[in-house]
Symmetry: C2
Amino acid sequence: MTNQIITIGREFGSGGRELGKRLAEQLGCAYYDREIVLALCEKNGLAQQYVENITSAGIQTYYPISYGRTFSTNRYYNNENTQLIVMQQQIIKELGSKSNCVIVGRNADIILREYKPFNLFIYSDISSCIERCRSRENEDNKKSDKELKKQINQINTNRKKSRALVTEIPWGAKEAYHLCINTSNLTIKDYINPVALLAENYFKENEK
Amino acid sequence: MTNQIITIGREFGSGGRELGKRLAEQLGCAYYDREIVLALCEKNGLAQQYVENITSAGIQTYYPISYGRTFSTNRYYNNENTQLIVMQQQIIKELGSKSNCVIVGRNADIILREYKPFNLFIYSDISSCIERCRSRENEDNKKSDKELKKQINQINTNRKKSRALVTEIPWGAKEAYHLCINTSNLTIKDYINPVALLAENYFKENEK
């Protein structure tokens, strides 16, 4: 029996991370998110923020769009940034091979496609995203709605760009996912039982 | 307490109709689909196919795109086709006011928005849609894959056009729905318990 993997793509501020954590808890499996980046940092002895900037954003300005599809060759791997992306993908593959898990972000749905993961995309209207970011904000560093909106859009743009490295299907296009969840109107915990149930059905069908 | 309404938008061949029927059965509520058209026909004494053609497709060739947003005025209501569309909307409103229900298609999510319905969109990859259409086909009237694909695309295009009459958000754009379900990999019955549970959570939250 292959490992049961749930991947979560998400808009910034949509609650995808909380949903992933709660889902992993409910299903009793591993949960990965920035832990992947941290592992990568440790392996390279690099500052976390530096790696985070590189691995989550616009490397495609340096590499042709076909890079993601030539992943198995070494043609474009002549630069530290690219090596970091490759290493992150290797770490994700290792994590996927270890046990059942929920992985948030990092294009894990594409990187682990051989496992036939159950792929979710979490999104929300902009006002809900702003509200969610606001609730997490540091008291000493309050941002205006306009600033938060700009930050949300910037991070989403980076995710779009990062996804374009590994697949032609645009980030957030529903065709790439089994389920797309709009978290504008419900609290995250309301989704956990239904989504866990659906994931279980999915894995049962795919075992056959 | 307001009526609990679930609306289902769907790609042709995605199984949205079966999902809607089973969901209504599970929740013990009314189910509407072509019944709406039939009711409309009876009220007008018109042939069902004629009404179906008008109400599901391209009336926007006769009317400006702003028609949907001027719905409450009588400016454009000088033509039998338009009157039929309006009557269908009235029938949907009547059905929505009567009891809890599941309504498939007919842009019911927009028409009944005052009820805060739980809105689903059901989609599927083209090969699954073809397979599903194939399984429903009449033995005497077999179509090639190419013909089925053409038919599916044509019906989806009509749905797009019909939706453009009532909202600016494109047909199938995930922002308009609470949940988008890709039925390519699971049998429809696998969705019923999870979706029913989620709908119940949604109505519970919205009662508050």
